[in-house]
Structure formats: C-alpha cells, structure tokens
C-alpha cells in the first residue's frame, strides 16, 4: 500500500497530455518583461535604468528586504522602460521592459551540460549563492528559498522532503524535469542537505509517474541518505503540509507553526534544480519548465522558457490558441489563476499555461446547499468549507477566525466536490483575505 495524506483530498482526472513530450524551447522573445513582484514579500527594487545594456544573467532588480528575491535579466539587450504591466494577478504592476538584442550571457555562468557533482562550499556560502541567484519556490507560491533555508535556530530539522508530486491535473513540467535531469536534481538535494546539515532526504512522487520513481531510485543509489517515496495519487498531495503528512506521517499544527516545527523542510523539484544551477553553475533563476496544454490544443508541450517571455509566444509554440478557448489559466486547473490577456509575461512561478474549452470554462448554475458535507470530507485541512462560505456571506469575521480560516490552503477541493456547484472557494478566499487583513491590522496596532 502506497503512502498518502490522511485528511480529505479529491481525485480529479489527471489529464497529463504532455507526459511523454520532451521539453523543447520557446525561443527568445522580442521584448522581455520582468514584473518586480514575482515572489511573496517585498517587491524587488530596480537597479537598472532606461537605456542600460544588460546580458543574460545580469541583476536588474535587487531584493527589497529579507523576504524578497533578486530578479535577473533572462535576455540580452537594452532596458527600454520601467512601466506597469498586466500580470497574472489581474492587475497592472511595475515591471522592467528589456528589448532583446542577440543572446549574450554573463561570463560567470557555466552553460555546459556536464553535471557538476562535488560541492565544497560551506552552508553559509550555499545559502548566499541561492539568495544571489534569486531562487524562489517554484511550485507556485514563490516563497524566497533563502528564507526557507534559514530556519529558526531552535528548530530541529530531521528530513528534507522534495516535492515531485505535481498533483495538479494537466501539468507535467516537474515530471519531465525529473526524467530529463535526474542527476542534477539529486546533486541539488545533497546540496540542500549539506546547507541544512541533514542526513536524510526524501523525494515524494505520485504513482502516476512511476518512470520517474524508478529512474531516480536507480540514480539515488550513488548518493547517501536520499530515498524516493512513491505516493498514492490524491489531490492536493503537493501541498506542503499534506506532503509532510504523506511522507513522514506528521501533521503541522496551525500557524504560527511552520514545517520546521515537526522536523521537516519541503522544496519543490523545480526549486531543487534551480538551486543546483545557482550553486554549481552560477546560473541565476532566469528560465523554467512550463507545460502548455489543454484538451483542444494542437500540440500540447513542455517548454523551457526564459522568464519575461509573453505567454502568447508559448501558445504559438503549442500550435496557437484553439478557437473554442473559453478560459486561459496560468498554472493548473485547480489552483491556477485565470488570465485577462495572453500578453502576461512568464514569471518564476508560472508552472503551466492551460487553455480550457468554452463549454467547460463556464460555471454551472449555483444551487442551494443540500447539507451533504462532501466539502467537509474533501477538505485536506479538516475545515468546514460550507461554514466558512456562510460566515463570509454574513460577514462574521470573528467567528471565521475562531474556526481557523487562516489555515485554509485554497486548494479548491471543496468547490470541486460540491454537487450543488456552490462557489465555495470564492467565499472562502474572501473570508480568508478579510480575516487576514483584520489580523494584520490588529498586530500592527500592538
């Protein structure tokens, strides 16, 4: 019996259309756009101005605080302007625009394909290299990785868990990364283990990717303390807390507790690969794997894309946007964000581009709650989503806070399991955002 997490979860159709598509490239854009807030925390501060020449890997915006990340140019050319651009949040945010000229790289970056295994750096040096490279969590939340690698001193971390779950339907970017770069990922895992002084590392992979499990198992024999853990398929297994429960059988208490409190630290495989490239190849985070897919897309594919490339260019590479497209999503169908335009640039957290046909994109009519409690059984955090939604509708924020709304991970299991098609997640998000704002303003007053 394979392991999985204990509470809730749903089984959406996995629809991994691009499972066996080798990662291609999308080509260089004419103009690359780098939004200044591609991560959680303070936006980066531009350190170039209009007319400056940049190379691939040049720092163009420096971290605006400890919880923030550097942003590097992924193309060579001239900075044309610093202006606002529509990003995946659905609003215009400040960004740096670079007109592409040629493809000239910074000399320090090692562009060869050889796998550099040995690493003689001290933990501090590793973390500072990761910080300089602007690496953020690439599973979607974009939390700056150097912050995660600097856990509180009293935390007793036992195990590094690498997230190769990719439980979102349709997405295969991480799957292909594991198949195409297994050695790099394993070296990355041992680098993180060294940085944190850990003896044990686990790579959790869902059972729909047994080829990756076997390949990594074979390769992992050469490394000390790395174990590959196949997991039973269930969404949202890629959630940090769910993965810790699945792999270690431990549950992370409600905030302010963090995974470090139960002895775990979780990194996405994409992040591990980025850490490998940052530490061993001096390569900042300037490109990532993106799955471009959808049921009526002509050539669904996996692409290695430079950040800043407009999503429309990825869609072209996949054979253009199908005529019946009703919704364009950045990310997967469960947690992705709908895009208002295809000109949105790829950022560090863009894991996929999904085009949904019109008839599937339109929501069914909402009907009254029939008290079936399917949302309660589906919630992986053990919350009562119907109650959260009602409290949000009524504006009872005090009660919602008592009911632990803040631990919601917004995975969408409740809404997808609701037979009455109630927009539960919409209400839950509203409640969580409002309560979060109230808590923040209360803390600020103290």
């Amino acid at each position: 019996m394979l392991k999985t997490f204990r509470i809730g979860g749903v089984h959406p159709e996995d629809n991994k259309l691009t499972r066996s598509c080798r990662t291609g490239t999308a080509g260089l854009p004419k103009q690359a756009v780098f939004p200044l807030s591609q991560h959680i925390g303070a936006p980066a501060v531009p350190c170039v101005k209009r007319g400056d020449s940049v190379k691939v890997g040049t720092l163009i915006a420096a971290a605006g605080g400890f919880v923030s990340a550097n942003i590097h140019s992924s193309v060579s050319g001239k900075v044309s302007k610093i202006d606002s651009v529509l990003d995946a949040s659905g609003y215009r945010k400040p960004a740096i625009f670079v007109d592409v000229e040629g493809d000239e790289w910074e000399e320090t970056i090692d562009r060869s394909d050889t796998v550099v295994k040995g690493c003689n750096l001290s933990p501090e040096e590793i973390i500072s290299k990761v910080k300089d490279a602007g690496v953020v969590g690439m599973g979607g939340a974009c939390f700056p990785t150097h912050v995660k690698l600097s856990p509180p001193k009293d935390a007793n971390i036992e195990c590094l868990i690498v997230n190769g779950v990719e439980c979102e339907p349709f997405l295969t970017a991480d799957h292909r990364l594991m198949l195409e770069h297994p050695d790099e990922i394993l070296v990355g895992v041992s680098i993180i283990m060294k940085a944190l002084g850990l003896e044990r590392g686990c790579v959790g992979i869902e059972a729909n990717k047994m080829d990756a499990v076997e390949l990594l198992r074979e390769k992992a024999r050469e490394y000390n303390g790395i174990e590959i853990v196949p997991l039973r398929m269930k969404y949202p297994q890629g959630g940090e807390k769910q993965l810790i429960d699945a792999v270690m059988g431990r549950q992370v208490p409600a905030p302010p507790a963090i995974p470090a409190n139960v002895g775990a630290i979780v990194q996405n495989v994409g992040t591990v690969f980025a850490i490998y490239e940052a530490v061993q190849k001096n390569m900042p985070l300037i490109q990532r794997n993106v799955t471009v897919t959808g049921k009526s897309v002509k050539n669904p594919c996996n692409l290695l894309v430079r950040t800043g490339t407009p999503i429309s260019q990825l869609i072209e590479a996949a054979g253009g946007m199908p005529e019946d497209t009703g919704k364009l999503i950045s990310g997967g169908p469960m947690m992705g964000r709908p895009l208002l335009s295809a000109d949105v640039p790829v950022v560090k957290g863009t894991s996929g581009v999904l085009m949904i046909p019109r008839q599937e994109a339109v929501r069914a009519e909402e009907r009254p709650c029939i008290r079936c409690a399917k949302c309660v059984s589906a919630c992986p955090m053990g919350l009562e989503p119907y109650l959260m939604a009602t409290l949000g509708e009524q504006g009872d924020w005090e009660r919602a806070e008592k009911e632990d709304i803040m631990i919601c991970i917004e995975c969408g299991c409740c809404q997808s399991s609701c037979p009455s098609r109630r927009p539960l997640l919409d209400w839950v998000r509203l409640t969580k955002t409002t309560v979060g704002g109230i808590i923040r303003s209360r803390n600020a007053k103290k």
């Binding site: 609003y91 927009p423 919409d426 509203l430």
Partner: protein, 292 residues
C-alpha cells in the same frame, strides 16, 4: 374541608408576601442606575442601527453621548438637524453645525463607455470579483457592477441602473451613513457635501492609469491632463497619479472646470440648466447637465 382551603390560602398568601418583600428589597439593593437621558436620547434616534456614527447601534450612540457628557464630535447623519438639536438640549450642550453629506458614485463606466473584454463568472460580489483580478473591462479602478453597495444600504437609497450597470444614489433617501463607501472594494463611492440646493461638482472617475491606458479602457476616464487644475481659481483641484480630485471644502461651485474637461467627466449636479433651454432646476437630471 374548610381547613384545607384556609391552610392553602394562608400558606400561599404568606409565601407571596415574604417573597414580595424579599424581591422588593433585592431590587432596591441591586438596582441598576441608568441615566434616564439614555432612554430619551434613544427615542429621538432613528433606530436603524446602521452604524454610520461609528457605534454599534443607536443605543450605543446614546450611551456614548451620555458617557461623554456632550454631543461634541458625535453626529447621527440619519437624524434630522432638529432631532440633533433636541438631543443637544437634553445633554445641555449646543449642537455643532454639521455639513450634510450625500454619497456620490465616481464612475461613468457604463457598458457603452467601457468595452467588456472578459467575462467574470464567479460569485456575484464586488469584493470577490476584485480579488479575482482587474475585472471584465480594461479599467482596473472602476465599478465592478455586482452591487455590494446596494446590498449593504439599509435606507434603500442606492440601486443598480439596468442600462448603465452602475449604481445610482437617490439623494432624497441617502443619509450619508457611509455603509456603501466602506463596502465598495474599489473606493468609488465618496461622501461629499450637499451644499446649497444639493449642488455638487465632482470628478466622476477614479482611474489612476496614465492617460492613453485609461482612455483605451474607458471613453470617459480621467486622463490626468490637468486642464481643470489650471481652470480652478480657488486651488480646489489637485492632480495625483493621473487623477484629478476636487476638494469639496475648497470648491466654490463656480463650474469653470466643467467645460474645460475634454473627457466630460466633471459633473455638476442640480444646477439650473443653461439659459437658452429655460428649464426649472427640478427637471434637470444628472446626465443632462453633464452633457450640457
């Protein structure tokens, strides 16, 4: 037989008497002394419990009044000035002159003015639509049209216009409680002074994008040209983040800015129509004045 009746009467009578005396003493001993003024003030308040005064309800307002000992700094915008004067008389203080206000919707992005680019399909609440992104049009500052303001209004003073898809304030019913102002996630609604004869001049747009971007998104967006700022003799208009704003305290209602605006979004409401048309002030609707 008669003994049984007599004993019952005696026992019950004595018990009743003793309990009565006991309850009387207890009620005297533990009487909660409440100021009679609280009840009389509360009777004068509208009893809508709208929260517009900043207190949880009318009784809380009355209590706060008495606790403070005066009406200073407190006002019930729902009550008529006479009622406030009566309350002030109860408190033995003078009533402060409060400028009556009215809610003003600062967006003209009707379906005709603002082309729809996307379809929002989620729960029909502006606060949720606002989280999902910029909205259905290219203007990320304007009205979302789900009617959060309408659902919070306790005085039936704001309605969605079926044609334009924008909320319309009924200035007779509006009591300026501010519920719609805080319900609007985009801060479109503002409380502005009613002035003499309810006349108001305001910029009916909140778009802070640069001129070309704003104009592309909406035909009647403020483009931040600054012509109104130059036209104003009283320094009442400021330009911040490509958006003009008329300070209601400084504005003298001269209407010089209205004709200057190339986008025709400075609204002058309840002014008599220009002379050639010879209309009485009652029949002049907002839009007519605006287009004039």
């Amino acid at each position: 037989m008669s003994n049984a009746i007599l004993s019952a009467v005696v026992v019950l009578g004595v018990t009743g008497l003793v309990t009565g005396v006991f309850l009387f003493l207890i009620s005297r001993r533990f009487a909660v002394k409440s100021d009679p003024r609280i009840a009389s003030i509360q009777a004068l308040l509208p009893g809508a419990n709208c929260g517009g005064c900043g207190f949880p309800g009318c009784s809380a307002f009355a209590e706060a009044c008495v606790r403070q000992g005066s009406l200073n700094g407190m006002n019930c915008s729902v009550s008529k000035p006479e009622a406030m004067a009566q309350i002030a008389a109860i408190m033995g203080s003078e009533v402060e002159a409060v400028v009556p206000k009215v809610a003003v919707v600062r967006c003209e992005g009707s379906c005709a003015n603002r082309p729809r680019l996307n379809v929002y399909n989620g729960a029909m609440r502006c606060s949720i639509a606002n989280m999902a992104g910029g909205g259905e049009t290219g203007c990320f500052f304007g009205c979302l049209g789900c009617g959060d303001c309408v659902s919070v209004c306790k005085f039936d003073a704001i309605h969605m216009d079926a044609v334009t898809g924008l909320p319309v304030v009924n200035q007779e019913s509006c009591v300026a409680c501010g519920a719609c102002v805080s319900a609007c996630p985009r801060h479109i609604i503002e409380l502005r002074n009613r002035n003499k004869k309810d006349r108001r001049v305001y910029v009916s747009c909140v778009n802070k994008d640069k001129g070309p971007v704003a104009k592309k998104a909406c035909a009647v967006a403020c483009i931040g040209c600054g012509k109104c700022v130059k036209a104003c003799q009283f320094e009442a208009i400021t330009l911040d983040m490509n958006l003009a704003y008329i300070d209601p305290e400084k504005c003298r209602l001269c209407r010089k800015c209205v004709d200057e605006c190339p986008q025709h979004i400075i609204k002058a409401v309840n002014f008599p129509a220009p002379l050639p048309q010879k209309q009485s002030s009652e029949t002049v609707s907002q839009t007519e004045t605006a287009n004039a």
